[in-house]
């Protein structure tokens, strides 16, 4: 059953040096506040997993906490490059970054296999792409009925998954709505789960498009209003597109980024 905890304590107890950590949210409900707490606590040597490692992972990578990235699209959506990500890949700064690179369909199915506690998933994908030649988590299987060859991807089972949701109740049951991406799969694939929420309500009222995660699949809930900023929480905030635009010059330069980190996160 989920405990309601402070963000500091939940992060300290659930996320450790060397962990494989997934922070999911497909543009919507991205758990920025939890990522900043990871930076404040200097939890390092992380393997980060995320379909779209946008600005949130640019910050963690720039802070030097990341050893490896498992992903399928690494950009600042609608703006351009992730400069801290590029600097790490291209120049090894502040440290080299190992990549396990996939397509979206592959990553989504890796989470599905993880949530289903299967060792792999099958899809029509990766054909003719050089992606499959650079990873050991893509292979092939033959259909035992038709003989057709299909792609296989290895399951993803993070040590910890962190998501942001709109509401929890006092028992730690959580509801999110709007674009819910791959969060249910990322939660159910993980060994440990932290959910930050906009607020605790007396009881969850089912919403159109609502996804409810029972408290007994969650380890800790932390109340962090605005915890998805500059991403958004439908019904609570709107996406701060200006922040994403402004991130480009901040992140382009190592020193400017360092100053931002010091002033904003620490």
């Amino acid at each position: 059953m989920a405990e309601i905890r402070t963000l500091h304590d939940a992060v300290a107890d659930l996320i450790h040096d060397g962990d494989t950590l997934a922070m999911e949210g497909f543009t919507h409900l991205i758990p920025y506040a939890a990522a900043h707490e990871v930076i404040r606590q200097s939890i390092t040597d992380l393997t980060l997993v995320r379909m779209t490692p946008d600005v949130i992972y640019d910050q963690l990578i720039g802070a030097g906490l990341v050893r490896k990235l498992v992903f399928s699209w690494g950009g600042n959506p609608g703006v351009g490059s992730l400069h801290r990500f590029r600097d790490a890949v291209e120049n090894g700064w502040p440290r080299p970054l190992e990549l396990d690179e996939h397509s979206h369909a592959g990553m989504a199915n890796r989470y599905v296999a993880g949530a289903s506690r299967l060792p792999f998933a099958v899809l029509r994908g990766y054909r003719g792409s050089d992606l499959a030649t650079r990873t050991d988590t893509v292979s092939t299987v033959l259909c035992p009925f038709t003989g057709e060859e299909l792609a296989a991807v290895a399951a993803l089972n993070p040590d910890v998954t962190v998501i942001h949701a709109q509401q929890a109740d006092p028992d730690g049951n959580v509801q999110m709505w709007g674009l819910t991406g791959v969060q249910k799969e990322a939660v159910l694939a993980a060994d440990r789960v932290l959910v930050t929420v906009e607020e605790i309500v007396d009881s969850l009222v089912p919403r159109p498009g609502g996804v409810v995660l029972p408290g007994w699949v969650i380890d800790a809930v932390a109340v962090v209003p605005g915890g998805a900023h500059p991403s958004y929480a439908s019904g609570y905030s709107v996406r701060d597109n200006d922040f994403y635009q402004a991130w480009d010059p901040v992140s382009r330069d190592r020193e400017t980024f360092g100053k931002w980190l010091e002033e904003t996160v620490s």
């Binding site: 690179e101 054909r127 050089d130 992606l131 057709e148 439908s234 200006d242």
Partner: protein
Amino acid sequence: MSAYTGDELMEVNAARALAGAKTCFVGIGLPSTAANLARATLNPGLVLIYESGTIGSKPTRLPLSIGDGELAETADAVVPVPEMFNYWLQGGRIDFGFLGAAQVDRFANINTTLVDRGPDRPAGRLPGAGGAPEIAANCRQVLMVLRHSPRNFVAKLDFVTTLGHGAGPQDRKRLGMRGAGPVAVITDLGILRPDPDTAELTLTDLHPGVSVEQIRQATGWKLRTAPEPRTTAPPTEAELTALRTLKSAGKQGR
């Protein structure tokens, strides 16, 4: 008639390529501009599908990201991302996939992963695949839109992120891919289409005022030209108005 830019020529012609389309899987950026312009002009019933999980989005302004709130709020249905890729895209439900690219080669293969910047510099890192490999594999047809330059239209890709036609017309079949693959590459200079026999991209349409020579100069391989390349119709007043309205609404929305 208003003056118009090369980008506007590209965007208007990309939208026109969606005439008659029922459903379109939309990449962010130029493809999203084209698909939204198609909805605003010649194809108001076009069903826009974004990989964030929205089916039938009807945004009134150009979304900055594939996850903007308006895409979900105006959608007929919002589905989880795995369902989108497995049931809808892989399920063969979608007519057109609309993709951008950093590099494209003569067989419409796509690179969005990395670019070689010479022996003394590390490869330049790009965002990566996103949904493109499976969009190109599983949509019935694929459209591409990107600016025309020798840097983008290259003889050899530095990395094959997404298969277009491989090395010729047999490759998609050999790999068991079910969609027809790229059927048109729309640029700010004209339109290239795969030759029915060789699958090689061939210049079939020039935008008004553009010469064949100019397009050849902007292409990194020896570009073949259809026997009688057409000239695209200039953008209409209605198309330009709709395009500019969409874009300025998008900027205001930020």
